[in-house]
Each structure stands twice: as structure tokens, then as C-alpha cells.
Symmetry: C2
Subunit: 387 residues, 2 copies
């Protein structure tokens, strides 16, 4: 098995991009990543996307993008694992290079969610839940996460205000990211006064519906120096994935993300690290409650104490475990199938020292975790900057 | 890179399976493959599927199947490449084992197309074409293939009747396959009298809309003897994929399947064989014209002469190059995202000597080719039975 390195990154801004089609978004991110890596051609393109068929009337998306990029003849396939599609595609790209079946692989994530009516987009997102046992009962992801948050608050006697540091931190960090969707700070007071969407979840607990695309170029690590423009080489030290039940009600303990535990601990073993070695963590803050559950399952906090990492300031750029360092899903935005690629890309930005005003003082080992559904697919990557 | 072997196969019958849900179909095929391989657990599940979101209201399908199978904790992802999704999933599964990132991998293909109205299913299939430049003009795959067939007949002065041997052979072979959708012979006269759907394509040129699921178990070749029940071990000697333009009108020569040429010739090189070494070929006869174009691009016939292989009887079970030996897409059926897995599975059946009344006298090297869209994604596998 060959070690794999990331030698190119590219992204579009995240937002309501009504002037850009799905294929244009993918094209722009991929061309930027190719330019960053200094390549004109690739062997394969793996595209993370969840809803191109439902929202854009386009399946066969990976072949379309290869065509639109003028890269006929290469391999192309779309990878779907709901909101974890991006990291699942990164995992497949890693396999392609690690196996020797491809040398230069582009992994892209792309999603276009704002060209449809909000109700259509919400219905599309619900396709990630169990159709027969959740969706048919009217459950949306908002509703499922609201039940998880309510249960958490009840079990551990936690007030809603204890979650404030997570969106406050995300919005603060997004101000330093020109590609983020939102560029305004929010205060704890504003968080608490935000309109309630599905109690106890309010608007500021929820990541936005948006468009965006991000891309990475993967090559064998031993050839990494041939690519890029002298930037620090980033090695994929671990890639791990695990699934749990699709339906939340099928879990013995809905407040423990078993798949996050499994994929993160497998990743720690592969990379030869412990949670204490992780310098920063791009986690999946689709809703505030998911941040807390992820931190607990990955071993960064005891159960019921994940909120403490917010209160103590540990999650900020100058804290012990910075999270969502460029805005996270909450404020950079959550173009679902693209999110996992944005997360890995942002880890690379930090490891390269290219995170601008948000650059961490110490960024050597970064972790990204992408969650599909309400914790049914969880993919964890650990990236290490080579010295 | 590790060699990869197929040590388990499982399938459901193909047909209008109104009494089985999407998840049940996937479950049944996967459990059968696991039983065949003698395994109770796996590391990963890759599912080829095109239309679960559009036709069954279910994305996140791979995690759902893992959940329904009671295999929480494993990795799972869905692979989509239109009608080539099945072979694309097989390719990802091969990468997973070849890279060492997984040891025991299940590759499944599943599709449920008959629970929706025919117009809805047809609209779903059209998502594989270019949304902006083909679908928006009203093109369906039937229409696109009809134009290809018309052009072929015009360019080479070929009568429609010259295509008869392909569906006649497929229907004949399906009679020996208990899992095939159709079990009746058709005559050349019946072929010519079949109702025209989109001239010159008639019903007998067209593969049926149907449901079905098939699955394979992949392991490292050096460990293959630990699995299965003493059946002949089948090695994946080559796996190759290539894309062409999504829209047919973007191709300089629409009668040459460039992606079939590229993927088949890459596969020949990987396996160290020539077309003359291929004992039989499970090709993608979604429409009669696709069989002919595939044979020509893969080097089995000169351009404009692919129909000769039908006329000469070369494609029959006793011919020089048997094709669609268990019914093909035309008569076994074409549950789109599952088809590529059925094709590989049938190659394994032949290589194992388990093809029943359709068993070939000489089956040592078999090829399978899965086509997405009107030739935009083409995946070729060459399987070899170990001595």
C-alpha cells in the first residue's frame, strides 16, 4: 500500500450561487486544484455529491464534469454517502492511489441546493434518512437533530445557552475565510434570541442551505515533491469510515455516535496518534448538537461534557483544540456532498500555513470528520504536514 | 498492489418484483453472496445504484443496506455512474482490497425501477444524459440509441434485420438462466415484427425495465482459498474505466465508442491478453446497437462489421465469442445500477463451471463490459479462473 499525499487544493466560495451551474461550480474548484498542483491531466476523478439527481436533474455527474473539463478518457465516478459524500469520495480517491490503480487522482465535492424551492431541498436532504421508518413519519433532519439536542439537554441537565460557543466560534472564524458564506460575528445573546426552527434548535444552531464545490489532487506520497509549488506536502496519515443504523430510533444510545467512535479510533490507530496529538479538528457542525456529540465520541471530552470545551474556549483558534477553524458547516456553509472535501481542504490550508488571519500557531496534525445522516455514515481523516 | 479474487456470488431473480423492497432485494443478494463465500462479516460494502433517490426516495443507500443486514460498524458507500454504476462499484471494491485498506469487501448492485410509473422511470433514466444539452431538448436514451442505430444502418448500408441475432441469442440463452426475466425464445421473424418504439428500434432491440440485485465478495487473491466451498477461484485480472462526452452530439464520431476502446485496451494490457484470448464476453446490450458498437470498439470486429458476428453465429454459446451467455441485458434484464454486478457474477458462473445448461465448453478468460449513458462511462473487467 502506497502512502498518499494531497498536493493541490481548490474551492469556490460557498453561498447562494445562482449565477453558476452545478457543472460550472465543479469545474471551477477542480481547475483551481489542478493549477495549485501544477497538473494538466489526471487519471481519475471521484466526485462526492448527494443530490444532483434530485435537485439538478443530473445523475452521471462525474462523467459530466470530466467531459466539461475536457478530460475525456479518464475514469470518473460519483460517490454518495449523504452528507458524508465528500469524505467518502476522498476515501475512494485514497484507495485508488494507495492501490496503484491510479497515480494522479482528483477528488471533488460539489452541491447545488439553492436553485430549488426550500421545501424541495429539505425533502431532498431527508432522502438521507430511513425512508420507510423516519421520512414516512414526517421526520426531517432538523426534527431528528432537535430530538437529539432535547434529549442531551435533558440527560445531562444542560441549558441551551451552553451550546452558544460553537456557532459563536464558527462565525468568528468565518470572518477570516474569504470563501465562507457568512462574514459576521454573532454574540451569545444573539444566539439565544435567534428564531427557533424546531425547538430547541434555532437558526444559529443550524448550518445553511447553500452551493459550493471543493477539490483536492492526490498523488503517491513519494512523488509528491514533483507537484505543487513548493508548498508543504500533506500526507493522508489515516482514512477510516464506519456506519451506524440509518434510523436514530434503532440505536441503543442515541446520544453516542458509535460510528464516530469507530472511525476516529480506527484513524488514531492507523496514524499512530491519540486524541491528545490532534492539533485541530474540522468537525461536522451541521447542528450544534452534532459538534458536541462528535467531540465526545472521538475522545476529546467525557460524555455530557462536550459543551465544556466550548465554555472553556478550548475550541477557539488559540485554544487547546481549535475546531471549525475556517467557519465550519455553520458559517463557511454546508453544501452537503461538498462539505467533506471542504473540511479536508481547510486542514491542508492550516497545515500549509495558508489559513490567513485564522492560521493556527501549531498545525502539524489535523483531523477532519464528515457525518452523513444523523450519524449513520462517519468518515474520519487525519492529515499530517510533512517536515 | 494486491491481486484480488472473487470468492462469493449472490443474486435475486430479475423481474417486476413488486413484493420486494429496495432494501430487501439488496439484502437477499448480499446474504446469498456471503453464504457462498462462507463469511458472516465484511469490512466494507460498496453499492452500485443509479436511481434509489429518484425512484425509491432513498439516498444513503449503502449505509441503509449495511444497517438492514445487521453489519453496523463497517464502511459503506454508494457508487453512481449511471448504468455503469455496478461495474464502477466493483472497481472501487477492487481498489479497496488491492490497496490493503480492506480485506473482505462486498460489492452489490441493486435497482428498483418498477414501483414508479413508466414515465417517471424513463425520466429517471434520462438523468444519465446531459441535462442541459440533451434532456432539455427532450432526448431519452431510446431516442439517442435510435439515432445511433439509424446512423449505423445508413453509414454501413446495414438492414435492421442484421441485428436480429443479438436479441435472438440473448433470449435463447436466458432460457437456461433461472434468474433471467424472460424465458422465451424469439425468432428473427418475431424480432422483425416487434412493435417499433423509436424507429428503427423496436421492443426486441430494447432491454426491459426491471428490478434486481446482485452481489460479489472480494478478498485478497492469496487468501482466496480460505473462503468459499472449494469452487474455482476467480481472479480480477484487469479492471479499467474510461469516460467520453456525456452528450452524443459532442463526439466527433458517434459510431465509435471511444471509452469502450480505451477501457478494453487498458484491460487487455493489464491482463496481458489480446481480444483473441477472450473466451466469452458479457457485453452491455441495453439496445442492439450497443452490442455491435461495443464489439467493434473492443477489437472483436472491424468497424461496420460487428453485425457479422451475429450472422456467423460467433456470438452463440458454441461460437467463437459467446456473448450474453445467460441472457444479457435484453433477456436476463437490465436493473440499471445492478447490471454491472450481474455481468461480473455471470462471468464467475461460467468460469466456475456453474452456468448450468448454458455452460461454455471453454471458459478460462471472461470479459464483462458495463456502459453508462450512451457510452459516456465504460468499465471493463477481465476475470480469469485460477487453475
Amino acid at each position: 500500500m502506497r502512502d498518499v499525499a494531497i498536493v493541490g487544493i481548490g474551492q469556490t466560495p460557498v453561498g447562494e450561487l445562482w449565477d453558476k451551474s452545478l457543472r460550472q461550480l465543479g469545474h471551477d474548484a477542480i481547475r483551481a486544484a489542478m493549477a495549485d498542483a501544477g497538473i494538466e491531466q489526471a487519471d481519475a476523478l471521484f466526485v462526492g455529491n448527494m443530490l444532483s439527481g434530485e435537485l439538478a436533474g443530473q445523475e452521471h455527474l462525474a462523467a459530466l464534469l470530466a467531459d466539461f473539463l475536457g478530460m475525456r478518457g479518464i475514469e470518473a465516478a460519483k460517490i454518495e454517502a449523504a452528507c458524508a459524500s465528500g469524505a467518502a469520495a476522498l476515501r475512494v480517491g485514497t484507495m485508488a492511489v494507495a492501490s496503484g490503480m491510479a497515480d494522479v487522482v482528483i477528488v471533488a465535492g460539489v452541491e447545488k441546493m439553492t436553485d430549488t424551492l426550500p421545501a424541495e431541498t429539505t425533502a431532498g436532504l431527508a432522502l438521507a434518512a430511513d425512508q420507510e421508518y423516519e421520512v414516512a413519519e414526517g421526520a426531517t433532519f432538523l426534527a431528528l437533530n432537535a430530538m437529539l439536542m432535547r434529549r442531551y439537554m435533558h440527560e445531562y441537565d444542560i441549558p441551551h445557552s451552553a451550546f452558544a460557543p460553537f456557532p459563536v466560534n464558527a462565525h468568528h472564524n468565518a470572518r477570516g475565510n474569504p470563501n465562507a458564506m457568512f462574514h459576521m460575528d454573532i454574540s451569545p445573546a444573539r444566539y439565544e434570541k435567534a428564531p427557533v426552527v424546531a425547538p430547541p434548535i434555532n437558526v444559529m444552531d443550524s448550518s445553511p442551505i447553500c452551493d459550493g464545490a471543493a477539490a483536492l489532487v492526490l498523488v503517491p506520497a513519494r512523488r509528491a515533491a514533483e507537484f505543487g509549488s513548493g508548498k508543504r506536502i500533506v500526507r493522508i496519515a489515516a482514512s477510516a469510515s464506519a456506519v451506524d443504523t440509518l434510523a436514530v430510533h434503532d440505536r441503543g444510545d442515541p446520544l453516542f455516535l458509535e460510528a464516530a467512535y469507530l472511525s476516529s479510533h480506527k484513524a488514531y490507530a492507523l496514524a499512530g496518534v491519540t486524541p491528545a496529538d490532534i492539533d485541530f479538528f474540522e468537525l461536522h457542525d451541521a447542528f450544534s448538537i452534532m459538534s458536541v456529540l462528535s467531540l465526545e465520541a472521538c475522545g476529546f471530552a467525557q460524555r455530557g461534557r462536550g459543551v465544556d470545551l466550548g465554555e472553556s474556549g478550548a475550541i477557539t483558534l488559540s485554544g487547546r483544540l481549535p475546531i471549525t477553524t475556517l467557519g465550519g458547516l455553520k458559517a463557511r456553509g454546508h453544501p452537503v456532498g461538498a462539505t467533506g472535501v471542504y473540511q479536508a481542504l481547510e486542514v491542508v490550508q492550516q497545515l500549509r500555513g495558508d489559513a490567513g488571519p485564522n492560521q493556527l500557531a501549531h498545525a502539524h496534525i489535523g483531523m477532519a470528520q464528515n457525518i452523513g445522516g444523523s450519524g449513520a455514515t462517519i468518515v474520519t481523516h487525519i492529515l499530517i504536514g510533512e517536515d
